[in-house]
């Protein structure tokens, strides 16, 4: 069922994905790259935001049980 809003499972999956895509994987540095800077910092912010949104949804889901 698609409601247009991310489901709880989608939100959790996004957290798992962000943990990998923004925090792991090969990082190249040096002259050939144009830009990679700043991702580490925004990762922390994005994750906190997603996690708090996820927590809110989870609490809501429990109340509706």
């Amino acid at each position: 069922v698609s409601t247009g809003r991310p489901t709880l499972q989608e939100q959790v999956t996004l957290l798992d994905l962000v943990d990998r895509v923004l925090e792991k994987g090969v990082v190249l540095s040096g002259d050939i790259t144009l830009a990679v800077a700043g991702v580490d910092l925004v990762y922390v912010q994005l994750r906190a935001l997603l996690a708090s949104a996820g927590t809110v949804d989870r609490l809501r889901a429990r109340r509706e049980d």
Partner: protein, 277 residues
């Protein structure tokens, strides 16, 4: 910006790299329907000496240094682009081994991508060989809020403190209650750590390589607390055995209300060197 019109055109896009696969490993149609990190952009292969980089040409209006710095702070933008990055690599993983790059690897053009493949070719090829036929699986473990109650009930020292409490005046009682709470909190944390270490060791023994990432306590359901956030590199032929091991671990701690979540298969994000000079 004072670039000449010609330079401005050349510089209007950059080459975004998702990761590297062995050349010839991806049939052309695998990437045909995948959208890149910018709306409507295709994913192409840039090949050099047996290696192929997964690349999209992205507009500098979005990925240039200044616009990028701004957009990185837009959570909706970043979440959407991170998803796209993950989708491309997932597609590549379905066809074979892949060395995933972290989000945000931008090069001036395809020649620079080839220069990268030339400069790092030996490392990347070796990494691809090591990762061939292997995938990353994620396992998260959650302990229920009731764990503290169980620990309290199982500690003789806590039982003794509780008995002493019963006959005390309020002032003295308060101090002893604090002492009891501290004891239960410490022992609960220690119990969670023991379960985490035992779980991780059992799972790691069924994997080629293993990483225990810091638990993210905000992702549990309700009053649950995450105690395990592991990543495991597993041969595709050994996935059933790994899942059987996870079931055995789950059964071992089931009576404590502990539960595990399996995710993946993922490209091996946790099993590539995260930084290269």
């Amino acid at each position: 910006v004072t670039a000449t019109p010609q330079r401005a055109t050349e510089a209007a896009s950059a080459a975004y790299v998702y990761g590297v696969v062995p050349a010839g490993a991806l049939p052309g149609n695998v990437l045909a329907d995948v959208e890149g990190v910018a709306p409507g952009v295709a994913v192409e292969l840039v090949e050099h000496e047996g290696l192929a980089a997964l690349v999209s040409r992205v507009p500098l209006a979005e990925f240039g240094e200044e616009p990028l710095a701004e957009r990185l702070h837009d959570p909706a933008w970043l979440a959407q682009r991170a998803r796209a990055h993950g989708r491309v690599l997932q597609q590549a993983l379905a066809a074979g081994s892949v060395v995933p790059f972290r989000f945000g690897a931008l090069f001036a053009g395809e020649d620079d991508v080839r220069a990268l493949l030339a400069a790092r070719g030996a490392d990347l090829s070796e990494e691809l060989r090591r990762l061939e036929g292997r995938v990353e699986l994620g396992v998260k473990g959650f302990a229920p809020g009731t764990l503290a109650g169980r620990v309290r009930a199982s500690l003789p020292e806590a039982q003794q403190l509780e008995q002493e409490l019963a006959g005390l005046a309020p002032g003295r009682r308060y101090l002893l209650e604090k002492q009891l709470d501290g004891l239960v909190a410490r022992e609960t944390a220690a119990a969670r750590l023991r379960i985490a270490e035992e779980s991780h060791a059992a799972l790691a023994a069924a994997a080629v390589a293993a990483v225990a990432n810091p638990p993210r306590d905000e992702t549990g359901a309700g009053d649950e607390e995450m105690f395990l956030n592991g990543a495991y590199l597993v041969g595709t032929g050994a996935r059933d055995a790994f899942e059987a091991r996870l079931e055995a671990v789950g059964a071992r701690f089931e009576e404590l209300g502990v539960r595990y979540e399996l995710t993946g298969p993922w490209p091996p994000y946790n099993f590539v060197e995260s930084a290269r000079p």
